[in-house]
Assembly symmetry: C2
DNA sequence: CTAATATTCTTCATGCTATGAACGATCAAA
DNA sequence: TTTGATCGTTCATAGCATGAAGAATATTAG
């Protein structure tokens, strides 16, 4: 294939990596727009929405747990919780077993909103998949799977 | 395969869309970490780094142009520029043709940093590609290409 | 030529995101 | 029972981002 041009493989790689960089940036931008759109639609800050979606299985979460799941500092969680409590979407009760921790749970309204949000997200990603042919869908997912692993791998190589 | 369960296609779609959602979130998180890592490494805020990378071809940019490229308000650009000027990475001169506009260009140091940053980004994405077999690379890119288009399409469907 | 309108950038007030240090309360273990 | 760890909060700080208002300049219509 590259018997004439000496470094055509390198050029291809260069071209492809630029393309990859652009694509990732565009996808990132798209996701950011989606998040901000939902935040405006629900009239709830993005961080609070993200938090609202954490209550999938569990009935109660702790501030520490939320901090880990959201990957933010504990102090950030306090602030987010204040917003959610103020909006009556979440309520906190003392853990009977340990007076240090507070159990945070969704209110009725919180559950409603959380479900609504979850449904929108699921619907969104389903629509995304439906843009592909059924046979392609598996491929897209496995593609992203490898991409994610590669990103982790490359991240760990970073200085 | 699905001769017994009636709605296994729906279940598959549901499963896949959940998987897609998780994957996108993980990839997003990875990108965010990368950005924040570079910001710390260069000791320059993320927005300023993003701006620094805008000077690829053009010698000069205007505040308006930067605002469009970064997709932020003009007032935000003023602030970012103050930071960059203060760090001596960028300098602004009056446009001789139109006294309203200021031409913003990289200083020597700014050019150095900009190049350095670009090299790191390219290297990063090259490493990412090298995690794949050569035949797979094309596929990953076309996958992302379709994914991006689909996202745009779905975005336009959003209420 | 001039008055009205556009454009370009800045300033200011506001609000969200996020961190880290310091702190008080509580728990667990030596 | 002291000592050390854990949990949540408060506070100071910094970055991100917008939109309204304004000053300077350009353009255009009359």
């Amino acid at each position: 294939m590259n018997d004439q041009k000496p470094d055509s493989a390198d050029m291809l790689l260069g071209y492809q990596s630029q393309r990859l960089q652009d694509l990732i940036e565009e996808i990132l931008h798209c996701c950011k727009e989606r998040t901000s759109h939902l935040s405006k639609k629900f009239d709830i800050p993005e961080a609070e929405l993200r938090c609202l979606m954490l209550f999938g299985e569990e009935r109660y979460l702790t501030a520490k747990g939320i901090a880990q799941k959201l990957d933010v500092a504990k102090s950030r969680v306090t602030k987010i919780m204040n917003g959610l409590i103020h909006k009556n979407l979440v309520e906190s009760t003392d853990d009977p077993k340990d007076a240090r921790v507070k159990l945070i749970g969704l209110t009725q309204e919180g559950q409603r909103r959380s479900k609504e949000l979850g449904a929108i997200m699921t619907d969104l990603h389903q629509k995304l998949l439906l843009e592909f042919e059924p046979e392609q869908r598996k491929m897209v997912i496995s593609c992203l799977e490898v991409l994610r692993s590669s990103m982790e791998a490359v991240k760990n190589q970073m200085v």
